[in-house]
Symmetry: C2
Subunit: 232 residues, 2 copies
């Protein structure tokens, strides 16, 4: 189709660039689907070409190398994470409502990934000791998200929703642990009730850090649920 | 040396079996060292043979197959974990002192593994979707440890150190999250102060669940430290 006589010559480079972008997006999408299952290190140009129904040379032409493919997958994962977890939460008011929305979205995404996998988690074990641009891209991506969580916690302090003496990094560490335990216990150990336990963890972390009078009736109900007997 | 004329014939089978056991232990030790760096799936008979300074056929003779080697590595890891983390804690009195010792030893082991890796964590991502005997051995091993943690928490309730209404599974989930966050943030993200944050998390979990009057002066001091400002 590209360069067909029906397309005016002036439009050709634009169409060509668009098609190139589209093809690259198809390849990266196939690679991301594969990487969530087998890890970034499990990616091969051959397997991705097969999934994207392209030739190996076609994949090389659009991505350059396996390493560039891995980095593109990290960026694409980051982009989707932002779209699903971060941006929708920005519609909530600054402070505890926004922090609550961010963490709730993060938990939702983690529960979706129980059946697939998370390259922020598998990548952390694959690239713990492997310096280079893939590790750098992963660390940068995870750190950007953690910085957004710190900011949301700091804003919740500024708004008077969390106590002034709580440590942003400590709360962020505890929230990260809650997500990692949810992923591990639900995905690997397949323990029923892991999602309810993650929610209870979240409520406990917030309850410990909340300014007096912040937790209104619905939150107080959540506090009561924070050690669910039914999920044992 | 084996079967040398200086050894009485009756002693030969015993010596031979002992030597076999010793050689197997050398191979499994080399394989475990390698697996902590590259994961269980990164193990190859060739690489292990080189590390153990043996022939490939020698490794096959003692371990049978790559899968059997992987399973032996899981059992050996489990054995060392028990020796370092579980058994020393049994010397402490039942209840909170024993639970505290178990979790402190677990954190110590996790900090040692910041420079190497943990096959309970890397294995969970490698074998999340791979059914088979290696996954089964890993799940069994992790579940045995988690059951020991549940028991210690239940005993702390029985001894009146933790409140009767707290949920063992919830506390175990939170403790697991604390360990996973420590490993991720110290090993992959290399964030300074991760160990102090893990300790503060632990004290917060215990403080939330402690029966009134359980936390004596030293524990109360720990509680004060639970949101360290200096580690930000």
């Amino acid at each position: 189709m590209l360069g067909s006589p029906s397309i005016p010559p002036s439009a050709r480079p634009v169409r060509s660039a668009q098609k190139g972008q589209h093809t690259k997006a198809v390849v990266v999408d196939a690679a991301l689907n594969l990487a969530t299952q087998v890890g970034l290190e499990g990616l091969s140009i051959g397997a991705v070409a097969e999934l994207a129904q392209m030739s190996k040379s076609g994949v090389f032409a659009h991505l350059g190398s396996r390493e560039e493919l891995q980095i593109s997958v990290v960026y694409e994962y980051h982009h989707r994470f932002e779209q699903e977890v971060f941006y929708p939460a920005l519609k909530q008011p600054r402070g505890l409502p926004r922090l609550r929305a961010m963490i709730t979205n993060w938990m939702k995404r983690t529960t979706v990934e129980i059946d697939s996998g998370c390259i922020f988690i598998s990548g952390a074990t694959e690239f713990a000791d492997r310096p280079g641009p893939v590790r750098d891209a992963l660390v940068k991506s995870v750190n950007l998200w953690h910085a957004a969580v710190h900011t949301a916690i700091a804003q919740a302090k500024q708004e008077g929703h969390l106590r002034a003496d709580v440590c942003e990094r400590q709360i962020a560490f505890d929230l990260h642990g809650m997500i990692l335990a949810l992923h591990y216990e639900a995905r690997f150990l397949r323990i029923p009730g892991s999602i309810e336990r993650a929610r209870a963890s979240f409520e406990n972390i917030i309850a410990r850090s909340a300014a007096p009078g912040t937790l209104t009736a619905p939150a107080a109900r959540s506090r009561k649920r924070a050690t669910p007997k039914t999920t044992v």
